[in-house]
């Protein structure tokens, strides 16, 4: 390789090599998390607590303290990611630790409660924690699988450009509608007044819009355009071409919104339930000490 004047920028970027958050630092946090879980499992099997394992034994308290500490620390990511202060750390390393240590909670917390469940605030905290973890696992999957589809779907377009494109098609469509008959014009008018962001969360997540007025208008207009004998045959063909472009543009943007929604939806469970979990956890800890 050519010799070149050296720069020290690489040194400044320590720890930001080109690997994903899961593989960060050669799976450091997976290793730590696995070690923690293994230690918990081993000690659970080896340590004989009288009369039986429970959350209120010394062993249970130890695991409980570790678990509660982990939950609070994991929740801090929400603050950390919004506060990128200078320093030798990267958010990726935090996320990596968050993910792997978060998964270890399944073992730590389950062993802490020693499989004792009931209709009480303790089990509520456990269930909320499991909801947070399961939504987090969905998040990991989404973050691993979806980005490449998002990238492939949008190509070089930004979301704003997609919307601009849609608006410019709408303008052409509006002009192309003028020479058409009343019936078709009303049909296309519905497509024009349709908001691309309309539709339920479910429609967005599943990308199914069965009542899409644009699609309906396209089907009708393109069928009408097949009849070359009518006076305004050329106008119909033009309108149907523009509608077909709009259908394509809409499907592109809807796919984009679907992927974005799938990438974000879990956070609407993960984050609020975390707050509920912290509340339930507080109640759990307070009640345990109150009835000690």
């Amino acid at each position: 390789m050519a010799s070149q004047l050296s720069g020290n920028s690489k040194k400044r970027l320590g720890g930001t090599s080109h690997v994903s958050f899961l593989k960060h630092a050669d799976y450091r946090w997976l290793k730590i998390s696995a070690a923690l879980s293994a230690l918990a499992l081993f000690s659970y099997a080896l340590i004989d607590v009288e009369p039986r394992h429970s959350g209120s034994s010394w062993y249970g308290y130890t695991l409980g303290t570790i678990g509660a500490g982990l939950i609070l620390w994991l929740a801090l990511l929400g603050y950390k990611k919004r506060s990128i202060k200078p320093g030798q750390w990267t958010l990726k390393s935090w996320v990596s630790a968050h993910v792997w240590l978060g998964l270890s909670l399944i073992i730590v917390a389950t062993l802490h409660c020693a499989f004792q469940f009931g209709w009480n605030v303790h089990t509520l905290a456990y269930v909320l924690m499991m909801i947070v973890i399961v939504s987090g696992i969905y998040g990991i999957c989404a973050y691993t699988i979806l980005p490449k589809h998002l990238s492939a779907n949008r190509g070089d377009m930004t979301q704003a450009e997609m919307l601009d494109n849609l608006r410019s098609i709408d303008r052409q469509l509006h002009d192309a509608t003028q020479p058409l008959g009343m019936e078709l014009a009303t049909l296309i008018g519905e497509s024009l007044s349709n908001d691309p962001f309309q539709g339920s969360i479910l429609a967005r997540l599943t990308n199914s819009y069965p009542d899409c007025p644009t699609h309906a208008a396209f089907v009708t207009v393109s069928a009408a355009a097949k009849d070359r004998s009518v006076d305004n045959a050329d106008d119909l063909v033009r309108a149907s071409q523009i509608l077909s472009r709009k259908v394509a543009a809409l499907s592109n943007i809807r796919r984009h919104l679907q992927l974005k929604a799938q990438l974000e939806i879990w956070l609407y469970f993960h984050v609020p339930v975390t707050f509920a979990l912290i509340a339930a956890l507080t109640a759990h800890v307070v009640s345990v000490f109150f009835y000690w």
């Binding site: 050519a2 090599s17 919004r82 320093g87 980005p147 998002l150 070089d156 990438l263």
Partner: protein
């Protein structure tokens, strides 16, 4: 004319010989309605004629009226064909056969009559013109203006001024910046380009001219555009034949050199005085002052000081040794190598722009890492350059007459070394714009600067304890070649063995395998290539072509071989570098049989990156879209690290094979933004970052100059409430860039817009925030040499 007016005022016998049938032909030939400027503004006008910036017509009117009222004797249509005789008894032969006798002659003929000609094929076609009289008379044409000095810019603007004329106007400039033109003109031109009225081609030259097309060599390759008329305004040279026939000597053989003059404008032919553009000073105000002065001198007023005398006097006041202004100027001119060929008049001009200072032994001239792009010259004494950042005892002496600081001048980088005065010295500091102008207008300066920078670049590149004496023959043989984008300097299979050092731009190395070019490596500016054939003999093993328009220094193979024989340490060093390169070659060789989609993918990712400006980048943000979840945390962190304004647009930009190049600064080798910054506020920092300092005036030139659209002009928004207040109580706009609405409500409406761009989070611990804030590891910053690993990773996944 100013001289004639002075003579008339003094009651001296005079005659103003005018070649045409009107006065002030230069201004008369300006295009109609042209705004004539009165620069330099700090200079006082000393003439019997009035002159103020204004329209061509108004100025001509004023002068015609004043010439008449002051009884200036004019003889129109009088072209002088020869001047004979000596002081007191000159004979001027006129074209119409008459002879005029004179005691003294003042030549104020300018250089307009002798324009530099187009020398490319087709340059002699009839639609190539060197003069534009009335831009409003040209309708419905494709016009290319060649040369972006003031004349060229004004012609282009005139032609494009009225959209009704339906002219398509392009202007072609050989370099990246407009150092020859006045600031106001450059601004007007860039504004016109922004409105789409004029197309600017910078770093472009004319390849050939066809009947109704012109073929240009642009930065990115050859371009053929329609063109019905070419207006070439590439400057002019003195009408040397005539001037020399009068017995006047020139300072050098260069085509653009000026006559040798005494401080009173007297040429080597006693009794003949030269003023104005022919003397090397094209500005109207100076010409008028000189006209006044020279008549005073001839009249015996030897004590008269030029109008700029007080300004210079103030500059020299702090220097030791009481010398007069003229003595100082003479000292500077004779002592400093690059100024030696300047006329005393040009010397005055550059001294007006420059600073002369006295430093005591041990004083630091500038420190390593300090911003600054001016050129220093040692007029007296010497300085030491501390080349090592850690050991201040390793020094390179620079003696009287030599220059330093040229690296900062050429690259705009921060100072690379600390310079300390070795003894009491006098230094002349020429600011960047002045120095660029000097290089552009005085050919010998350009050669001197090029030579010194080649020598220093080689010393820095090959290190190995070389001294300037060691590499003298190599430098002597060196040749600077500019290479168009895509052209090869070395072709696989050739038998040459010269060495190339990349001075500007960058190169890609390729091998042809199975008929396809396979990308081997990337060479940024500051690398060398071609040593393999020199050391080992044999044919070239790979093709090296320019990724962007580049400049290489070609070192003669034989001279370099001699250098290697004398310096075995250098040979060893080259062999180490060569071994790495051979490994890559061998690797490609072994993969020959299995070559398939993998290598295609690899080459195409690399070429995508080069096309997106990474060829000239030093450090670029890339986003691996297999990992990017679109959270925009990079943008938010960027805004929060820098006054609340994000310097990157994640979503915009091109993507190839899931590798995305967002709109964000690439920190180019030779930043386009730096080319035209009036306050000179853009610099290169110590980590290679290109940044804009606080002196930004918000003119927007850099934004227009950036081909990648990464500079934005915006107001700095007000400070946000702390993050916790937002998290807990919802006050303020939250992380990231505040909405325009919030900023408007809380901000200062009077705040000026400034240019905002990435500074690579210079000075922040941990490095760039965008990379640190990426939760998934999608955002990476790479330098071009790291292409290979990035594209390989892509391929491996």
């Amino acid at each position: 004319m100013s001289a004639a007016a002075r003579a008339a005022q003094l009651g001296m016998a005079h005659i103003l010989l005018e070649k045409t049938d009107h006065l002030s032909d230069t201004i008369f030939r300006y295009q109609k309605g042209k705004h004539v400027m009165a620069t330099p503004s700090q200079l006082v006008l000393r003439s019997d004629m009035d002159f103020d910036a204004g329209k061509r017509e108004k100025i001509l009117q004023t002068w015609n009226d004043q010439a008449a009222s002051q009884n200036v004797l004019v003889r129109y249509r009088s072209e002088v064909t020869a001047i004979t005789g000596g002081p007191g008894k000159f004979e001027l032969k006129l074209a119409d056969g008459d002879t005029i006798n004179a005691e003294a002659v003042i030549l104020a003929i300018g250089t307009q009559g002798n324009p530099n000609l187009m020398r490319c094929p087709g340059g002699d076609l009839p639609h190539v013109e060197y003069q534009l009289d009335d831009p409003t008379a040209i309708l419905d044409e494709h016009i290319t203006v060649v040369g972006a000095g003031d004349a060229g810019i004004e012609n282009a603007l005139g032609l494009a001024a009225d959209p009704e004329q339906r002219n398509v106007v392009s202007i072609v400039n050989r370099s990246a910046d407009f150092s020859r033109a006045k600031d106001a003109n450059v601004k007007a031109l860039t504004a016109a380009a922004e409105e789409g009225r004029v197309t600017i081609f910078t770093e472009t030259s004319t390849n050939r001219i066809e009947a109704d097309h012109i073929v240009l060599d642009t930065r990115d390759g050859e371009l053929r555009i329609p063109c019905n008329r070419i207006i070439a305004r590439m400057g002019s040279a003195p009408p040397r034949g005539f001037v020399e026939s009068c017995g006047i000597e020139f300072s050098s053989k260069d085509r653009e050199a000026f006559p040798i003059l005494s401080p009173v404008f007297e040429s080597t032919a006693a009794g003949i005085f030269v003023i104005g553009a022919l003397a090397g000073y094209p500005l109207i105000k100076h010409c008028m002052n000189q006209g006044y002065d020279v008549v005073e001198f001839i009249n015996g007023n030897v004590d008269l000081k030029p109008a700029d005398e007080p300004i210079l006097e103030a500059k020299f006041r702090t220097l030791p040794g009481k010398r007069s202004v003229d003595e100082w100027l003479d000292l500077l001119r004779t002592q400093i190598d690059i100024l030696r060929e300047l006329t005393p008049l040009q010397m005055r001009e550059f001294t007006l722009d420059s600073d002369v200072s006295f430093v005591r032994k041990g004083d630091v001239v500038f420190e390593r890492g300090a911003p600054g792009s001016s050129l220093f010259n040692v007029a007296q004494g010497s300085v030491h350059v501390q080349v090592s950042p850690t050991d201040s005892s390793i020094i390179v002496p620079i003696g009287t007459g030599a220059m330093f600081g040229e690296v900062g001048l050429i690259s705009g980088r921060k100072r690379g070394a600390t310079v300390v005065a070795a003894e009491d010295s006098i230094l002349m500091e020429i600011p960047r714009t002045g120095a660029l102008k000097l290089i552009a207008t005085v050919p010998t300066v350009k050669r001197a600067v090029t030579r010194v920078s080649i020598e220093r670049q080689l010393l820095q590149l090959f290190k190995a304890g070389l001294s300037p004496a060691d590499i003298a023959d190599v430098v002597e043989s060196a040749e600077t070649i500019s290479v168009r984008a895509g052209d090869a300097i070395i072709s696989e299979g050739d038998e040459s063995y010269d060495i190339y050092v990349i001075r500007v731009g960058s190169m890609v190395v390729e091998r042809t395998i199975g008929g396809k070019a396979v990308f081997l490596s990337y060479l940024p500016a500051g690398s060398y290539v071609g040593e393999m054939a020199l050391i080992e003999g044999g044919r070239r093993t790979a093709t090296v072509r320019a990724a962007v328009k580049s400049e290489v220094i070609k070192l003669n193979g034989d001279a370099f071989r001699g250098l290697l024989e004398r310096n075995p340490a250098l040979l060893d060093r080259l062999k180490v570098d060569m071994a790495t390169r051979k490994d890559v070659n061998a690797h490609i060789e072994t993969m020959k049989s299995t070559f398939s989609d993998v290598s295609d993918m690899y080459s195409s990712v690399a070429s995508f990156l080069v096309e997106n400006g990474i060829g000239e980048a030093t450090d670029v943000l890339l986003i691996d879209e297999k990992l990017c979840v679109g959270c925009d945390n990079c943008e938010k962190a960027c805004a929060d690290s820098h006054d609340g304004l994000s310097r990157l647009d994640r979503e915009a930009g091109k993507t190839y094979a899931h590798l995305h190049v967002p709109t964000s600064c690439r920190h180019c080798e030779h930043p386009h933004c730096m080319a035209d910054c009036p306050p000179n506020a853009i610099h290169r920092g110590i980590d290679g970052e290109v940044f804009i300092d606080d002196t930004c005036i918000g003119c927007g030139n850099c934004q227009r100059g950036c081909p990648y659209g990464v500079i934005r002009m915006d107001k700095v928004p007000p400070k946000k409430p702390p993050l916790l207040n937002w998290l807990l109580f919802g006050t303020g706009p939250g992380p990231g860039e505040p909405s325009a609405k919030w900023s408007k409500k809380h901000g200062n409406p009077e705040a000026p817009k400034k240019a905002i761009k990435c500074d690579m989070c210079s000075g922040l611990e941990g490095g760039p925030s965008c990379v640190r804030a990426c939760p998934t590891g999608a955002a990476i910053r790479i330098s071009p040499e790291q292409f290979l690993s990035v594209s390989q990773m892509q391929k491996g996944d």
